[in-house]
Structure formats: structure tokens, C-alpha cells
Symmetry: C2
Subunit: 416 residues, 2 copies
Amino acid sequence: MRKGFLQLTAVAEFEAIIARCERITATEVVSTADAVGRTPAADVISPGDLPEFPRSTVDGFAVINSDTHGASESIPLYLDLADDIPVGTKAERPLKSGEAARVVTGGMIPEGADAVVMIEHADLVDEETLEVRRAAARLENLALVGEDVARGAAIVPAGRPLGPFDIGALMGLGILEIEVFKRPAVTVFSTGAEVVEPAQTPAPGKVRDINKYAVAAGVTQAGGVPSLLPTIGDDLDLLTDTIGRSVQNSDMVILSGGSSVGGMDFTEEAINDSGRPGVLVHGLAVKPGKPTIFGMVGDVPVIGLPGHPAGALVIFTIFIAPLIRRIGGNRNAGPFARSISAQITRNIAGSPGKHVYVPAALEFGAPDRPPRAIPILGKSGAVSILTKSDGIIVIDPMREGIEAGTIVEVYLYKTL
Amino acid sequence: MRKGFLQLTAVAEFEAIIARCERITATEVVSTADAVGRTPAADVISPGDLPEFPRSTVDGFAVINSDTHGASESIPLYLDLADDIPVGTKAERPLKSGEAARVVTGGMIPEGADAVVMIEHADLVDEETLEVRRAAARLENLALVGEDVARGAAIVPAGRPLGPFDIGALMGLGILEIEVFKRPAVTVFSTGAEVVEPAQTPAPGKVRDINKYAVAAGVTQAGGVPSLLPTIGDDLDLLTDTIGRSVQNSDMVILSGGSSVGGMDFTEEAINDSGRPGVLVHGLAVKPGKPTIFGMVGDVPVIGLPGHPAGALVIFTIFIAPLIRRIGGNRNAGPFARSISAQITRNIAGSPGKHVYVPAALEFGAPDRPPRAIPILGKSGAVSILTKSDGIIVIDPMREGIEAGTIVEVYLYKTL
């Protein structure tokens, strides 16, 4: 144990250091139907046209638009009903001038037709004669071949996680498999002689592991696959060896604990001994979360989170989860992608020279009003602060505080 | 095919009808470590105290606070260093007046001590003598037994999906298993003679299924388990039979297609023939998505989505996904839980008497500015409108439109 005067790194500089990490996972081919939330590794190019045939977008009558010119409610026109084309069938017979063909929404339009009169604007006078009461414009109420998606067009871009509709569109084009980035493999473990597994009853002075499981769950939420290792006590050689082996088969290594300066020195030494460039950041100008270590072994980030659960999860949420998403190929990965605007319910104080992270609970009222963000204050290291909160409010270093009633962003660490 | 003059249901009334659905899934016991995102079926009560022993929250020296009264930088006081308590070990020796014991963050505090002096405010003069340069207040820098979480306190409430930190807190209390609501089982299929499976090459006039796969992916995102059935063509008996069997083993049934009035009649008849109360809504005052059917067979919602992919997914996102989350036990389920505030980039028009849903793409700029919401306009039924968008902007029936520059909520249907 020695006194801790660290050279702190400002948040902007930390973000710049993280941004230099260029690692990205390999790719794999998965079934499109199961790919929601996965991130395409390349732009997906349409192998065909959508629609594949000229389709009506309404229930009505396919016509040649010039045949309907002048039609109105007071002066209707009359066309021969030449065909009836049920949905799902081919329109066999080309349309001639003076003719109409019955069509339905999504159904095929006969060759020669260039507009559809909606059923509301036409009536069958008898089985062969259609009264048309409104003029149709060219291409009205129909979709041409490839008008929606043209053969060769990019349907979904690389680097953006697939939503439900993307899945539908890909299936609709017959794309049954898709190349996506693999989920990042993240090794997670705790350090510290006091930490025991949750299944054990801790001896006096010892505590059950919190951080390993909280971080692993956060890795899962960020789209990664956590791999949990046993806790490492005060054993520098084992720590160095574990980091060295983990960086061989992981996209990221996250350890926590060693929040005291002595523990941090230990972690710093082990990361530096594992490979270059080693430790890049040792102490952040933030509160909580100051005793954070960020290093790289080759292109694999190795992160030492604070032992305090609150500090560990705040740093994970704000900085590390977005990096996991980015390593997993998401080009839009930033903490802002998971924030919600809310009105803060009380004054909260900043801290000079530091980014301050204040856990807050969200309370929803009327749908047309912003939710309320209720700051949850409490002692450093308390577990209950975070179980009671939904996300984090950020106060920048130059701000003395935030007044009650201000609209703030809350960076979520749970799905609501 | 007949003309479609429906009695439309307003959104507020539709929401009230949906709210009357009281179905909720059964519960199951799962491993806590794998339970992120799952919803507890009951408040989880702490079986023990956290911390389990009085802990220091800093590196420093445990003292009896009254021994330090009057200590300052200019007039330090001196105490006997009586013990050194490493982290993870029991403090065996009670502290007497005039004594101090070295402690570390997270370490145990000896009996008798009631405050901790931070290492920054004390120095060892020799191996046995501590110089204290600041008075400690009672309970300063320590956490009492049960101060964070008391035995018998509710740690996480029923009905709120578990976040990463909840998982950590539960594990830290030795709660290795947890009772959660089962994921809702949702049967999904399409109807329509024109619809073929994506693996097939559609004959002229036919189209590959889009909606079944888009909706299934949406069900997965909403925490449900989709179960896909083969498409049903123009066969009322088969449709009725399928709905009747599906409501026996599902928490919800979603079919799509039959967007024309004839198709809707078919779906309505099949739902009504399957059981009571049957169809409750047939046509919504919305755009797109008007030809929506909502019914209940017993307490199982049966939903007929429009055949148009855009209408189907909009209705699913705004109304059905929140209902899936609610059936899965999430008490906070509303579309607002997945919305983001953004600045709209162009004027968009409303429609008298209807809720209008406009797909929009989000574009992120500076983190401290709201993202831009770019309305994606296009023909009804187009697939590309939704693949290019991230969510939906809502214009209420009394609003003629929304001006460029306005801050709006975008209801997301994908994770960004």
C-alpha cells in the first residue's frame, strides 16, 4: 500500500485512445431468419427485383390511363371488364385500349396497363361493363418491377445491426444466409484475495464476487460472448500468465478489482508484462471510476475496472460496452445510442476537473412528456445505488452542477 | 372482393382494448448468471446483509473518531499502529482508545473502530506510530453491516427486466437462481394465396414471405419466442383450425396478409369461429396499418396484421411489441421505453382523423446535440422504406403536420 497520486487522463483523451483500437471480429455465415441484432459484414446486394412483377398497391381495376381521361363523378366513362386477376396468379392476357382488368392489392397487373383505379372510384354496371368515375394518372396505384428494391441495389449496409424489418426484406429477396461479424469474445475475471465465488459462504472479511457477473451480463447485452475465469488473488505471475493466455483467444479482456493503488500497480505490471503497447491509461478524471486501467496487448484491449461495483459498471457502460459493439462491427457504436432524454428531479453537484456520473432511475408518466430522471445518491461502492437506477447522468468537468428541471440524457444500462 | 367501408377504431380506444388483456406467462427458475434481460416474477428479498462485515470504503487507518478530535495539518495527533488488516482477512483484535489499524478499501474494520482516516491524511512516523492530520467524523469512510442491502430488503422488484448490475447484486448476495416469467410463446404465420416460402422461386404473380420473418424477428426482440407455421392460402377451414390450435399453446397469435377487405373478412370470420370474445377491432384510424384486426380467444390475443409489410411492422412496433413485453411480465412495457428524441429534418404532413406513422432514419452528430430524424417517404407497401429507417414518428389526428426542426420522439424498431 502506498499513497496514490496518479496522473489522471481526461475523458476526451481516453476516448481518443479507445478510438485508436482497430480490432474487429472475424465473420461467419448465419441463417438470415435468426440474424436479428447481428451486424452484416458487407453491404448486402439484392439478387433480384422487388417487386418481381408490376403490382397493384390497391384493390381496383387495372387500366390504360389515357382511357380514363375526363372521367368524373358527374361524367363517368365506361370500359369493358376483360379479365379478373386473383392475387398470386399470372396476368396472362395483355390489356387493350378500352379494357379494364380486376386486380387486388399485391396482385399482378396485365401487360399494357399503366394505372389502377381504386375500387372506391369504379363500379360494375353489369358483368362486363365498368363505370369509372375518376381519371387515373400514369403509374397511379401500382409499383413497377424493381421500383422498391432494384437488382444490384444495397438492401442493408455493412456495420448496422439488423432490425426485424431488415430480416423480412432479406427473406423477401430469397437471401437465406448472411455474412455477419462474430460476436466479440470477452474474457472476464476478478482479482483480489477477498473475492469468493457466489456459491460459497464468504469467511469473515471476504465477499462474494459481484463485478464478474455484472460485467459478463453487460458483455452479453452489448452483443459479446463472455467467458468467465476463476478469480485471481495476490499472484502477479498467475495474473500475467492469465492475461497473456486470454489475449490469444479473446477480442477483449476485462478484469476488475485491485481498486487500491497497490492493486492497480499489480494490474498495470501484469498488462505491461503481457505485451506491447501495454498500459495506456492509469487513472481517469472521473467520479466514480477513477482507478481504471486501459491497455492494449497487440490489438486486444485489456481493461482493469475499479473494484467498486458502481465505478466498474459506470466505466463499463460509458466506455467499454460501446467498444465491444464496435469490435463486433457496429459502426454506429456510441453510448448515445442507448440514451434517453429525461427531466432531472433535483439539483446534482459536479466536481471540478472531473466528469461526474450520477446513477438515476427513470419514471415514466404521460407518453407525451419526458420521463423523470431521479438521481440515486449514496455511498461509494454501494450495490443498491445501481440496482435502484436505470442509467447514468453525466456532468462535465466545467459544470458546477445541474439544476432540477433540466432535460438531461440518461445513458441506460438496462432495457426498460 | 367488396368495397371497404370499415368502422375504424381510434388509437386511444385500441390502446384501451389492448390494456384489457390480462394474460401473463407462467414462471420458471433460471440461473441468475444467465438472467440478464429476464423479468423477475416476484420481488427478490435479500437473504443476508451487504456488507456482511463493517468495511472500509478507502485505503487508510481505522480509528475511534473521538481519538482524532482536534487533529489538523498544523497540529497533528499521534496514535499507536496496533494492527494491519489485509483485504479478505478477519480483523481479530478489537481496537482500543489511542490505537489505529491499517485497513484497505473493501477490508474489514476492527471491533471498536468507528471511522477511517484516509491514507492521504495520515503518515507513519515509525513502524508503530501514526501521525493523523485530520479529524475523522463518526462512520466516516466505512460501511456498516447491512448498510447497502439489509437482510429482508427487496433487492430487485418483480416486473422489471434485470440489468447487468442486478445480476451482479444478486450473485453478490449468493442468489444463484431466480424465478422469472417465461418468454411469451408467439405463433406467427402468413395468409394469402400469393405468398411462398423464401427458399422457393416465386412463380409469376407470387411473392416470397416477408411479414412472417419480420414479425418473428420483432417477437424475438420483444423477448418472446416465435413459432412459425406454414402459410395458409384461401382456406377458411384451415385458417380457423390453425387459429383454434394455436391459441391452445401460445400466449399470442399473429397472422398477416389478407389486407384487402375480402381477406380481412376471412380473418375476422376465422377468429370469431375460434372462440369468444372474438374480434374486437376491425380497422384502425391510422396510416399505414388501417386493415388491422385485433381479437381475443379466451385471454390469448389474436392479431391480423395488414399484408403490406410497412403497415404490418408499424402496427407491430407501436402496439404489439409492448403487449408481448407486458405478457412477459414487464410492468413498464410501453412504446416510449424504446424511443429516442430527435430533430426532424423536413416538414411532414398529417392526415385528418388518423394517427400517421412516418418511418424515419436517425443520424447522429455531436453527442451533445439531438440526433437528426430524416423522414423516409415512399409508396405504400415498399420494403425499402423500412430497411432505410430506424423507427417511426407519430403525428396525431388533430395535427396538420410537423415542421422541420421540431424535436420529436422516434419509436425504434431496431437496436442502434
